[in-house]
């Protein structure tokens, strides 16, 4: 039995409306936010499915182009997101199918496994989680951001960071833990959700 969860969302914020309208008009002002919010999670999503980072980037670029060439009517960020993940997923299917044929013609042994809907969904969850953290990092104050990025994204040790930024070890340690604490506190969902918004629904079994 599949559980169905109806969820009531808050109406889109003014920022969101302006952004969606700018997209409709193919306005470059919208591209900043489009890339900031969607490019990486979509790439991570696609890479999880096609296992090829370069191909993933290309597929996502194509999806964004497709979006901007013919923008569907959208009333919320959520709709936009669902649309982007869907067309990216479909592009991944096509890519794998095309590659399968290629592989067969060259008689390669490597077997590219097709993915199913649930696998794609799980990859979406990972992508969204990572994006939430990534966006939170990008939102840190400058004094913490660089250090946290070097630590978390590049895996550098405190001493390395201190050397690179020409700071004292202790300064690095302090600012890093300050930054990490802020991440935990301010990890904001970008979708304008609050706890009350999620819970107007009751649950149905279909």
């Amino acid at each position: 039995m599949r559980l169905f969860v109806p969820v009531k969302m808050l109406p889109p914020s003014d920022h969101d409306i302006v952004f969606l309208q700018a997209l409709q008009q193919q306005s470059p002002a919208a591209y900043d936010r489009l890339y900031a919010d969607f490019f990486r999670p979509l790439c991570y999503f696609a890479e999880g499915l096609v296992r090829d980072p370069a191909a993933a980037e290309d597929l996502v670029t194509e999806s964004l182009i497709k979006l901007l060439q013919e923008v569907p009517e959208m009333n919320s960020i959520r709709q936009l997101k669902a649309y982007l993940y869907t067309i990216t997923r479909n592009a991944c299917y096509d890519f794998l199918r095309a590659n399968e044929r290629h592989q067969q013609s060259h008689e390669e042994i490597r077997y590219l496994k097709q993915f199913d809907a649930e696998t794609a969904e799980r990859q979406l969850v990972r992508a969204e989680m990572l994006q939430a953290i990534y966006a939170a990092i990008e939102g840190l104050p400058d004094r913490n951001k660089t250090i946290v990025k070097l630590a978390l994204l590049e895996g550098k040790k405190n001493e390395e960071i201190a050397a690179e930024l020409q700071m004292a070890d202790q300064t690095v340690r302090n600012r890093k833990s300050e930054g990490l604490a802020m991440l935990r506190l301010t990890l904001k969902s970008q979708y304008g959700l609050s706890s009350t918004a999620i819970i107007t629904g009751m649950l149905y079994f279909l």
Binding site: L3, Q69, S195, I198
Partner: protein
């Protein structure tokens, strides 16, 4: 992509910030239980080490390169020209819609033939004009008294036995105090004229948008074990959840017949589902019902949630994005319904997708409250396009003029001369 998985992702993110409420936790637990992979995914995203290990990959994608490619590609291709005329007056003077003629031939907007006209009509464009429809409706109370809502002031406009009725702008809100006494339930009706539209919040908080020439009859308080309303015309619903009280929308059969009773059990003999009549049992949230008599079918389109359409001898459950069509031949699922087209009216737009000339005229007639008279044949063509419905009629007709059809507006009559 299933919207549900977006919700799950949101919950997992929220979980990192705060304690989830019991209900949120329940939703998450259900999802986890559905599949062992979900459980391991949960552990994975809660594992800080794993997250850190992935962030490197995440950061390495080359957004700059992608964006350069994207901008280059977009500059190279001519954008598909979707002509939107939204609510701003600015667009009033840029009226143009894309026309599709006959079977797959396209007529460009500037390709007009000058006809050496033999008509005696003044070649001048329309002399009078018609304003678009607006927020107009009439509320009929249980005792039969009527309130014209367009001119009513904001604030409390009436009190029924167990409800307070307030007007706020273009919306009527019911605030009901529940009473256990079913015999005291009163029914109100909101109806819109041609050229009207209105919004209503029902006693349970459900929102209803009424299109022109439509009505909804409902009790002032939802007692009993179901919430039943009856409609004519076209309405869009956003129903609040109450598992204990399913929400039912009843539609009367064409040409009169017995109205399905609003009280009592829904499934009596016939149950009001005589030919053409049907009921929609709402299990979820957002859907549009179009029952205009002059449309080819009675359509129910679901946006979110779940509904079951119950007609004579047959029923159909819809998933989001699906549309059920009821005609004389029965109840069927539409192939590829155009949601934008269905929802256009509620969003203040006209959206025609390959519709016949007559259908377009009939939609315009209902919104502008005019009567269409054809002099000559009804043009045999199909029309597609989108524009705001806050334009004056003459602006709309301006665009339709390019295909060799002339129009004249005289008072409330629109003459189509072909």
């Amino acid at each position: 992509m299933n919207n549900r998985i977006l919700d799950i992702a949101d919950l997992l993110i929220e979980q990192k910030k705060r304690l989830l409420t019991a209900q949120e936790q329940w939703i998450l637990d259900q999802w986890v239980m559905e599949h062992p992979e979900n459980a391991s995914l949960l552990r994975q995203v809660q594992d800080e080490k794993w997250m850190e290990s992935q962030l490197g990959t995440f950061a390495q994608y080359d957004a700059k390169k992608s964006r350069q490619n994207l901008e280059a590609r977009l500059a190279a291709t001519t954008p598909v020209h979707r002509i939107h005329l939204l609510r701003t007056a600015w667009f009033r003077y840029a009226a143009a819609i894309i026309l599709l003629l006959g079977i797959g031939t396209y007529l460009y907007v500037n390709n007009q033939k000058e006809e050496p006209s033999v008509t005696q009509h003044n070649p001048n464009p329309v002399q009078s004009d018609v304003a678009p429809g607006g927020n107009k409706a009439t509320l009929t109370l249980a005792d039969g008294s009527k309130i014209i809502l367009d001119s009513a002031a904001n604030g409390t406009i009436a009190k029924e036995e167990n409800a307070m009725i307030t007007k706020r702008g273009d919306q009527i809100i019911y605030d009901s105090r529940l009473t256990r006494d079913a015999s005291r339930i009163a029914y109100n009706t909101m109806s819109t004229p041609r050229g009207g539209q209105y919004q209503l919040r029902l006693p349970d908080g459900s929102q209803v948008w009424l299109n022109a020439e439509s009505s909804i009859t409902y009790p002032t308080a939802f007692t009993g074990n179901q919430r039943k309303v009856r409609i004519t015309g076209e309405a869009y619903f956003e129903v609040t959840h109450d598992k204990k009280k399913p929400f039912i929308v009843a539609v009367s059969p064409a040409g009169g017949g017995d109205y399905p009773p609003l009280e009592g059990v829904a499934r009596r003999a016939g149950g009001g589902r005589e030919a053409g009549g049907f009921e929609i049992e709402v299990l979820g949230t957002h859907f549009n019902v179009n029952t205009y008599q002059d449309e080819p079918a009675k359509n129910t389109t679901l946006l979110e949630g779940s509904v079951r359409i119950n007609a004579v001898h047959t029923s159909l459950t819809l998933k989001p994005g699906q549309q059920g069509q009821l005609t004389d031949r029965g109840l069927s699922l539409a192939v590829n319904p155009d949601i934008d087209q269905v929802m256009a009216w509620k969003n203040g737009l006209f959206n025609f997708n390959n519709r016949t000339f007559a259908e377009v005229m009939s939609t315009l007639a209902r919104w502008y409250d005019v009567e269409v008279k054809y002099e000559g044949k009804i043009p045999n063509m199909r029309i597609g396009g989108e524009m705001g419905r806050d334009l004056n009629l003459s602006d709309v007709l301006q665009a339709l003029k390019t295909i060799g059809v002339k129009y004249e507006i005289e008072g409330r009559t629109l003459k189509v001369i072909s």
